[in-house]
């Protein structure tokens, strides 16, 4: 409301106006209260509680020795070799899964964006892995990787690539690659769909204009398709990073963090710390560090890509 309006309205009118606004904002809150209450009880309080717990030395195996220790859990984990190892393992896993699901998802989306007979069937089939719960994905792959009856061994043996069976997910040289492959297989459909949706919004005119402008197929891809996909890329990068950083189910089913600590990612470490050792103080501090890392990476991506992706559509 501008000052001119105020003068014109006079004091009574202003009071009435303010009362009305107050009433409106009150009813807005009232109408939103179920959602707000839900959010407070399901998110705000648990998160706050979890952080409060992370400031304690708290092991449920010794509940009477719980005490407030401030940020000690956080300082301590900076020197904990298993935590530093888990960060390293998680980084390798994240880099591998993000790179491959991005690349394969993009290629698939480009393929599925072309006209060919049976395209809608292929599109539907592409989605199948995504529709599966991660635990089921893990089980499926655990059979593929199985050291005695696994499909992978059968295929490699029939081509003479290996002579002796390997338990791929439990082999120190291949466990991480096995985990990445399963995760990529699971995530590629999502990436493909996001890219495909973005591809389908690219007006044909852009390509035609570029053709008339003399752009080759390759430069059309790099100058039109790729920049147009940057917003989709952002979504994919953020979701894939989050998926990768929080991965747990696949590790649980496929490798159990092993062999040794070769696939002990942060999510797995946090789980064992909290639920195997019942060390909730440290477990919660791990979880917060994970969340913080995800946040940092997301901010980084947004900085990197958001402006480029802001199109007038």
């Amino acid at each position: 409301m501008t000052s001119v309006d105020n003068v014109a309205l006079g004091h009574d009118a202003i009071d009435r106006e303010q009362t009305r606004e107050r009433r409106e904002s009150f009813s807005a809150f009232a109408l939103n209260s179920p959602a707000i209450i839900w959010l407070v009880f399901m998110a705000v309080i648990p998160i706050g509680w979890s952080f409060w717990t992370s400031l304690h030395s708290m092991n449920l195996r010794r509940p009477h020795r719980t005490q407030f220790i401030g940020l000690d859990n956080y300082f301590e984990l900076l020197h904990a070799p298993e935590f530093l190892n888990a960060i390293q393992v998680t980084a390798v896993f994240a880099a591998g899964t993000i790179a491959f699901s991005l690349l394969i998802g993009l290629l698939l989306a480009l393929l599925l964006n072309e006209e060919f007979p049976g395209r809608s069937l292929v599109r539907a089939l592409t989605l199948v892995p995504w529709a599966m719960p991660p635990v089921v994905v893990g089980l499926v792959w655990s059979w593929i990787y199985d050291g005695r009856f696994g499909l992978l061994n059968a295929i490699f043996k029939s081509f003479g690539i290996i002579r002796e069976s390997r338990a791929w997910a439990l082999d120190p040289d291949f466990a991480m690659a096995s985990l990445i492959t399963a995760q990529v297989w699971h995530q590629v459909p999502f990436v493909t769909i996001v890219f495909l949706a973005a591809l389908q919004t690219i007006p044909d005119e852009f390509y035609e204009a570029a053709k008339v402008d003399g752009a080759s197929r390759l430069s059309r891809f790099f100058h039109i398709t790729l920049p147009w996909l940057s917003q989709a890329m952002l979504i994919v990068l953020i979701t894939q990073t989050m998926e990768a950083l929080r991965v747990f189910d696949l590790v649980f089913v496929l490798t159990g963090g092993g062999p040794g600590d070769a696939t002990t990612v942060l999510g797995w470490l946090t789980y064992t710390r909290s639920f195997s050792f019942l060390d909730f103080g440290r477990g919660n501090s791990y979880a917060f560090v994970m969340a913080f890392m995800t946040l940092l990476l997301s901010v980084f991506y947004i900085r990197l890509l958001w402006k480029r992706g802001e199109f007038a559509r």
Binding site: R61, P63, H64, E164, R166, L170, S276, L278
Partner: protein, 449 residues
């Protein structure tokens, strides 16, 4: 309007149907005397009980308890074993008023130390229970303070379980007496093309697994921790080191252990022997029922129990799992609860150990009391599951010991670290020596915390 009425009718109708179903279902179950729900009835005192499972003979036994105590009912809640520790810990911390529960062997001393459990050694009749139980099972019921916090519920000694047909086919007449003989037999089985990876070791990284290591260490007369729960395996006692060196060779050089063994727990081993996928391994005794009796076994009558081979001999010792049953520290009904567990897994008022015995027979083993182990029905069951050869079964009962350090509150955390180190050593990422000194150092550090 017509539609509105129909919809309201529909909603009302389905809601009433759901409500009816909800009210009716416990009653429907109650008719089945083998189900735990049937133990709940109108009574002055309701014992709140937790278990990770139940079998019909056990529930039928509990009904005999209800017949003796007309004023008592039992609220029997099952929680899956996988969630049992977390669920019960949450209940204890939350101040839930449960009366009694089964206690996993890994949790007993921790729960006792935390004040969740009531000592039972001054309860009436405890002396008789202790006198009749296998000594190791009674020891396992004691907390770090030496007091008993539970009475034996199950006892699962591990033996060397082997497929005799495969052994015979490879030219051997008797089970191995030491690790060298295991190696020789397994290599022969492998060479004869009977089985590519004939030995199960169960080296999965998971709480409470890697039983075979404890089996061979105890079988060799070795120790891993001393009385004060200080590690011995980084210099004072070489048994673990020698066993692990043998494992390294078995996996990497002789290749008698499958590459998938790092993903197998002992339950997987039980299935593998039952399906003829392996020729031998360290398994709890009741695995024999699965292999020799179960209708879907592909090796019925071929699987036998050997004693526990060590580095040299097979008549020294073996490891076992010992779950307990006990009473919560803030039980509302400690007296009836004691009588109840005394009945469920103890002598009962009659002194017959009937419920314990019948439950154990239904499982195919697991009894922890001599009167049950020696009972004719039980002996008959052992005979059936062991193809008539019961000698080793009885010998193992006398040799069995519980894992060491398992009563410390830090055991799970140490175990997880140790398992990582073991896998790293077995995949030759680190040497056995380094893995063990790191594990020992971790144990000492955790003990100090």
């Amino acid at each position: 309007m017509r539609f509105g009425t129909t919809r309201r009718k529909f909603i009302f109708g389905s809601a009433s149907a759901a409500a009816l179903a909800a009210v009716k279902s416990p009653a429907a179950f109650a008719a089945d005397k083998g189900q735990p729900e049937s133990l709940l009835r109108d009574a002055d005192e309701v014992i709140d009980f937790r278990n990770w499972g139940s079998n019909p003979p056990e529930i039928i036994g509990a009904h005999r308890f209800l017949d003796l105590h007309p004023d008592v009912a039992v609220q029997w809640n099952n929680v899956s074993f996988a969630k049992y520790r977390d669920a019960l810990t949450a209940e204890f911390v939350g101040g839930s008023k449960l009366d009694s529960m089964t206690i996993p062997e890994t949790e007993l001393s921790g729960w006792a130390d935390a004040g969740f459990l009531a000592p039972v050694d001054e309860m009436p009749g405890y002396e008789a229970v202790a006198a009749n139980a296998v000594p190791a099972a009674i020891e396992a019921g004691k907390g770090l303070d030496g007091r008993a916090y539970g009475i034996p519920y199950t006892m699962d000694p591990f033996g060397y379980v082997y497929n005799r047909r495969m052994l015979n086919d490879a030219g051997f007449g008797s089970p191995p007496k030491n690790l060298d003989e295991i190696r020789a037999q397994m290599q022969a089985i492998k060479k004869a093309g009977i089985n590519e990876f004939p030995l199960h070791l169960g080296l999965k990284q998971a709480p409470g697994q890697m039983w075979s290591i404890w089996c061979f260490v105890f079988g060799s007369g070795g120790r891993m921790f001393d009385e004060e729960n200080q590690p011995l395996f980084d210099g004072k006692d070489d048994t673990l080191s020698n066993v692990l060196e043998w494992y390294v060779a078995a996996i990497n050089d002789w290749k008698i252990v499958g590459p998938d063994d790092f993903g197998k727990n002992w339950g997987d081993g039980r299935n593998d022997i039952k399906q003829g996928h392996v020729a031998g391994g360290c398994l709890a005794r009741w695995a024999l029922r699965f292999a020799n009796v179960d209708a879907d076994s592909s090796v019925r009558g071929e699987v036998f129990l050997g004693k526990m081979p060590g580095l040299e001999r097979d008549d020294v010792s073996t490891v076992g799992a010992f779950h307990q049953i006990g009473i919560a520290a803030n039980a509302q009904l400690p007296e009836p609860a004691w009588q109840f567990i005394h009945h469920i897994s103890g002598p009962e008022a009659s002194g017959s150990y009937q419920t314990h015995r019948e439950r154990s027979i239904a499982f195919g083993g697991r009894a922890a009391y001599l009167p049950a182990l020696e009972h004719a029905d039980y002996v008959e069951m052992v005979k059936e599951t062991n193809n008539g050869e019961t000698e080793n079964y009885n010998t193992i009962s006398e040799m069995v010991r519980q894992k060491e350090a398992v009563k410390t509150y830090w055991y799970p955390e140490w175990e997880a670290f140790w398992m990582q180190q073991v896998q790293d050593a077995l995949t030759k990422k680190v040497s056995v020596k380094d893995a063990l000194s790191a594990s020992a150092e971790r144990a000492r550090r955790l003990a100090k915390e």
